[in-house]
Structure formats: C-alpha cells, structure tokens
Symmetry: C2
Subunit: 376 residues, 2 copies
C-alpha cells in the first residue's frame, strides 16, 4: 500500500526523546538545544508585506547578507545562488531528492548526523564510508567538517584540502553541512571544504538555529551553478518558500551592529558550559568512559569502557530523569556499541551535575549486574 | 548524475510568475494572493520558550484547537491525529512521499491544482482521472472538493457521498485538500468528503494562508490511524517541525474571540471583490470567454471562445503589465487549450479594470492577427 521507501522508515530517536523533554524534572543531554537563557528576546511589528507570499529562493536582502558572509569564508556564492531554507534539515531532504535513487551510493562519515542518515535512507541510499584522505566512492559525499555531529571533531586543514581535491577530481558532489561553525571555543581550521574547490559540484549549508533561534526554522544553502536551479524548484515543491516573518526577524538580527557581539557572547557562554561539563564528566565518569574535549559545537562523544548497547540504557535513564542520545544511532551500518552523545549546551550546572551522577550510577549498576551474572 | 525523478522536473509557472510580481505597475491575476488590506496586523512579544525546538506534530494547544474545529466539521480527528504543517503544500509532499513510487496511479480531477500535479509527478505518479461518481482507479485519490483550484467548483452533496463510499469500498486512500472552505460567498454543501467516510484511509488538510497570512507558511492535516504515524516521521525528516513562532501567532489569532468576525469580514470582502470582478469580466470579456461565477475561493476559470494556447499569451500579457495563470498548466495530461485562471482577491477595482481591459485587447489582437493569417 505504501511506497517502497516507507520500508526504511523508523521513528527517529531524536523525536521520541523530544517528546519526553517537557517533563519538568528531566535533565536532557539529548538534543542539540540552545540554552534557554541564550535565546534572543523578540519584539516585533511586522509590516503587512512580510506576511504575503514570497519568492521560493527567499528574501532578497537576507540572501544578499548571507552571500556576503559566505564570500568572506571564501565561497563562490553570489546572492543569486543563495537560498533560504526552512531549517537546514530541509536542505538535506532537497539534496537527497536531487541525487538519491534506490541504490545510489552516498559517502558519509561514520558516525555522522543521524537525521541525515535517516533522510538518505528514505530515498534508498547505499552508504559508503567517507575517509578524509581518499576519494569518496560515491556520486555524493555528505560531511560535517566543523565540529562534527556527533563527535565534535574539526577536520584539519590538510584533510579539508584533500577532500576538496578528491571531490573535484573525481566528479563527486560535495554536500557540506556546517551548522556549528560559529560555536568555536578554540583554534581550529574552519575554512569550508567547498571554499577549497575550484569548479566542481557542491552544496554548502548553514543554520540560524544555533546562532539565533531554532524555533524559527531557518537555514540557508549555496550551491554550484549546475545544482542551484534544480534545488530551487524542489524547494518550491515542498513548501513554496520559508516563513517571511522568520526571514524578516533573522535579517534584522544578523544585520544589527550587535550581531558580532552576540556571536562572541554565545561562544563564550558555551565555552564555559563545555568546560563545566568536562569537569563534571571527570568527576563522575572517569574510568567509565573516554572522550576528547570538543573544540566547538554542542556535544561530547563518549566511548564507554564497557561496550554496552546504550539504546538499552536509555529507557532506564529516562525513568530516572536523564535523557541522552545513544551513539549507535549515528552509524550508517554496523553500530559501534558503548557510545553516547551528550549535549552540553542546554542543561545548567546543577542539572548537569545531577544528570551525570545518575548516568554514572546507571553505568556502574550495569557493570556490577554484568559481573554478577558472569560470576554465577 | 541526478536522481531519476529529476527528469520530470520543470520550473513551476507559479514561481516564474511570482518573480515578476514585484514590478510596481504589474496587475496580477496569477497567484492566489490575499488582498494586502486583509492581512492581519502583527504585534508580538514572543516568550523565549516559543523559539526553542518543538515537537514534529506541532504545538499541542494549536493541534487541540484545530482538532475541535475538525470535529465540528464531522471529522474523526482527535488532537493526537492532527499535525501542523509548514503550509499545506508540505502536506502534498508528505502524502506523495508516503504513497507514490514510479508508476503508482494517482487519481486527480482534470484540471486540478498545478503544484499538486508537480509534486506527484516528481515522485513518478501516473495520473488517472477522478470522476465524482465512479470509483477512482488508483490507490490514492487527490481532490479539492470545495471551491476547486482552478475551477472554483464546489462538489455537490451527492458527489461527496459517492466519492466517500467509493474510496471506502474500494480501499482507496482519500487525500482531501481544503484550503478555501472559509471563503464561501453563497450556499454550497461543504461537509468534507473525509467526514463522510466510516473507516477507510484518508488525509484531510487545510491552510491558514487564506484566512490568516500566507507568509507564515502554516497549515495542518489530520489523517486516519493507519497513516498518521508515518506522516509524522516523514514530517520530522523534512524540517523537524514547523515554526514555533508562526504556530504561536496563528494559535492566538484563531482562539481570539474576534476570529469568527474576521472570517465573516474576509468572506464579505472577497464576495464584493468577486462581484466586482464578475462585472468587469462582463464589461471586457463578454464574447471572448465564458465562465461561471464561483460560489467561493479565489479564482475565475475562463474558457476562451477561441482555443489559443494561453501559455503563449502570458509573455505578451506580462510585457503589458498583466499576469495570469495559463489554464494548460492545470491538466494532468493533455491540456485543454484556451483556458485561464484569474485570481480576483489581490487586485483592487482599478487594477482589475486596467488588467482585464489589457487582457481583452490582447485576445482581440490575437484574434485579428489569427484571422489575418488565415486569410492570406
């Protein structure tokens, strides 16, 4: 009865988890949620023109501002090849729609952003693994080079150059997803891979969810000439255009003289959160897990010293008021057990302390139970 | 290089036309744009919580209000089976994604909403024609029973009952698109087809674009139990959720005590526009075209007395400052030449007069030229 693609459909753990986050006692390390105190105040009288239908590509002035920011990053992205998205999740759907038939190979990092895997799967992609130093064996390569989700890793300058060259020489379309680039807490080469290509096919996308507000659902993409016109037509077919009101709000925020201050404050606020979280991790999880301190983004990626399936752990954790994201979900094929992604931006210091203490207790209980079992 | 579906991709004439509508001198009968003077004023201080990520299904309170409205229409649509959409165009994409593989038959009226045809085509649909009194020969039937786009036609009570029975008995999923139902200018049976089914599979969707503001990109759907969960997962994959701010604005508008007054005023305003447009049509196009006066919605559907291809006429019209929608675009297969859709909601009386005079002149010129040619 349903289309064949529905066979690959399964509920996203993100969505399932978001549905319990309303519980007032819940400590959530699960989503990539901004800190409530860093959401902007809004006060607005929209001119009526901002409520009419608008162009599919987006508000011309907002596109121009984004284009200028991308030019500074080194991208060949004139205004006419910038499109405003209803969140960067939409960009993944559009690019998948443009490229992926059942059986089309798509090169991805392992692990990588689970909602991207979900969309590519829905269109029937066969995943191949993306290695930074070899040419991707696929017509399309999806990558989050800067503060990767879930690992927080920032690709090196050499790796970026190498991937750019490989895509260009191999006729591979680069799809670069860059939602976290402004959330940098230490030095890291961040020049986009797409900015290192000279010719070739590429899509570069970013988000206003992390720097401004996720609820407005606004992101953007830029693409090479061969791809952009088709992406606009696909965008028009899915929602005609993005909210004119959201676009107006974001435009006035990012053109305000205070915008660069806001970005600095955000980075500084989240740097402190990261450091506090890191310290709390050491207090509670030393010996139970290993991790690197991420140079940016919103996540710690934990490798447990015992390879338990953290999907099974999640239900028990939620019962005890803590949510996290099982690492298994981020692998395109065979999941690596004993991994978890912890968001550090949303919970405050007290909640973090409480949540990590609970997680540590659960992990210890699991270990004891396991040892108990193996001794009988 | 691209996926197979991209072979069916062509620019939408809506989009192409929207791109010239900014010209200040342009009279547009093309889009389904609300009158600027009927767009609501906005003044807002959003609580910060409305800017955070939200559930894919939408704001719980807004869903509850929509559910109650649908219950009054006779639909079996409890809150947990109502989902908020980023415009009802998104609903078409989700339903097509759920059902349509290359070669899947989809029953549609002829003519019907062109952007729906575009989406179904993109997923590879084979169109079959929907007749109100016979069972659709397809697993999915898409229909706009109330003030159809483009014809403005309102299906009769008998036709609605008959289609409901046919879908139910034949195991056909009914996809009912109902964006215009509040814009009723005369008596017309409007009880949804989906409300006449008892069991069976159905999706019913509506829009806040016509009653509130299109720029917010907000609509909703309700669906039978067998379909709803998959639609939510598909929604989550395309944009996580719809703008929380748009949802908050729409919720406060439609729960305001003045909402039913607003709907009355809208209907009364557009009824006058329709009547004025009708009179202007008679002044300028009598003898050149035939039409019925629509009982609701936003469009007149014209059949020219000479079957010229109005796609060819459009460029000349735009040169002379008038935009309309060629009727040919609304046919799933062989287009009926000499048809056009004229929107009457957007242009004021002066612009309407000027625009219709210009169109009439173009049609007369075309006739003379044609007769000139056929005489040589």
């Amino acid at each position: 009865m349903f289309s064949r693609r529905i066979g690959s459909l399964r509920p996203s753990p993100i969505r399932e988890i978001l549905s319990v986050l309303d519980r007032p006692d819940m400590v959530s390390f699960a989503g990539g949620l901004p800190a409530p105190e860093m959401l902007p105040p809004l006060s607005l009288s929209a001119a009526p023109t901002s409520l009419q239908y608008g162009p599919s590509e987006g508000d011309p002035e907002l596109r121009a501002v984004v284009s200028e920011q991308l030019r500074i990053l080194g991208l060949d992205a004139p205004t006419e090849r910038v499109m405003i998205l209803s969140g960067s999740q939409q960009g993944i759907d559009l690019v998948a729609k443009l490229f992926v038939d059942p059986g089309t190979p798509v090169a991805v990092e392992s692990p990588t952003y689970l909602a991207a895997l979900q969309v590519f799967r829905l269109y029937g992609a066969d995943f191949t693994s993306l290695n930074w130093n070899n040419a991707p064996m696929a017509p399309l390569a999806y990558v989050v080079p800067t503060f990767a989700n879930p690992t927080g890793r920032c690709a090196t300058d050499d790796e970026r150059d190498s991937l750019a060259r490989a895509c260009q020489d191999g006729g591979v379309t680069l799809f670069e997803d860059d939602p976290y680039r402004e959330l940098a807490y230490g030095p890291c080469d961040r020049k986009p891979v797409a900015a290192r290509m000279h010719g070739g096919s590429w899509v570069y996308q970013g988000s206003f969810s992390k720097t401004f507000a996720p609820g407005l659902r606004l992101g953007f993409l830029a693409a090479s000439e061969d791809l952009f016109p088709s992406l606009v037509i696909l965008k028009q077919a899915v929602d005609l255009h993005s909210s004119t009101l959201s676009q107006q709000l974001v435009r006035s925020a990012i053109t305000d003289p205070s915008w660069s201050n806001r970005l600095d404050e955000l980075a500084s606020f989240y740097r402190k959160r990261r450091d506090g979280f890191d310290a709390a991790l050491h207090r509670h999880l030393d010996g139970l897990a290993e991790w690197e301190t991420p140079a940016g983004g919103l996540f710690f990626w934990l490798r447990l010293t015992r390879p338990v399936d953290t999907r099974a752990l999640l239900a028990a954790a939620i019962d005890r008021g803590v949510a996290f994201m099982p690492g298994e979900e981020f692998f395109p094929d065979r999941p690596q057990l004993g991994t978890m992604r912890l968001n550090f931006s949303h919970a405050d210091a007290d909640a973090t302390e409480r949540g990590l203490r609970t997680l540590a207790q659960l992990l210890r209980d699991g270990t004891e139970k396991h040892e108990g079992v193996s001794n009988t």
